[in-house]
């Protein structure tokens, strides 16, 4: 059973479009994250939610809007996609005393 699952795995879209990436975890963790891995493999945190409440927002453009309907889900909606948004987006979750558990990543390509 996949602990942290993201959909879709691949996403190819044109500039200006709006797209969403979904993430679900079945580990019972309270905290979920979105990380961005760019073409140079740098990993940077974007958002963190704890029990549906936003606790970290790292200077990400307003075009990115996370939504957490419940503590098991953290979705990422991106408006007006730009070329520079092309990256791999990783969802992760964490419980008390546990390390981060990552999803498989969503490879977003903006053309």
């Amino acid at each position: 059973d996949t602990a942290v699952s993201q959909t879709p795995k691949y996403l190819v879209t044109q500039m200006g479009n709006d797209k969403s990436i979904k993430c679900e975890q079945n580990l019972g963790h309270d905290t979920m994250y979105w990380y961005k891995q760019d073409s140079k493999k740098f990993l940077k945190i974007m958002f963190s939610y704890n029990n549906k409440e936003l606790i970290i927002n790292e200077t990400v453009p307003n075009r990115f809007s996370p939504k957490s309907p419940d503590k098991a889900h953290l979705n990422l909606h991106i408006n007006s996609l730009e070329l520079g948004d092309s990256a791999v987006y990783f969802c992760a979750s964490k419980g008390v005393g546990s390390p981060l558990h990552f999803g498989n990543g969503t490879r977003l390509t903006v053309t």
Binding site: V4, Y33, K40, K44, K94, L100, F102
Partner: protein, 110 residues
């Protein structure tokens, strides 16, 4: 502010040779240090955490607070060790944010 530096972007070694990945950090409090590994096109997986003081897949890492380092070592590299390795730090600040280093690609040649 918390910062993690991995000075080597690429480490290329022959199978059976020792490998050491450097990690230095900057943090004023008591951090938790981790090593994560990402095999080709797979998810990041936890490899080591300093509080466990264990050896995983032959890898060890020791937290040196004096030198603010958490280098990852393996005495005999295997081809299956080829991957991206990320050093990460979690501070005591709210949100338990995990800050990653830039990553080191390890290539183990036969």
């Amino acid at each position: 502010a918390q910062r993690v530096t991995q000075p080597e972007k690429l480490l290329s070694v022959f199978k059976g040779a020792p490998v050491e990945l450097k990690c230095n950090y900057s943090y004023s409090g008591s951090p938790e240090l981790f090593w994560y590994v990402q095999y080709s096109r797979q998810r990041l997986q936890l490899l080591l955490r300093h509080i466990s003081r264990e050896s995983i897949k032959g890898f060890t890492a020791d937290l040196n607070k004096g030198e603010t380092s958490f280098h990852l070592k393996k005495p005999f590299a295997q081809e299956e060790d080829s991957a991206m390795y990320y050093c990460a730090l979690r501070g005591e600040a709210a949100g338990n944010k995990l800050t990653f280093g830039g990553g080191t690609r390890v290539l183990v040649k036969p």
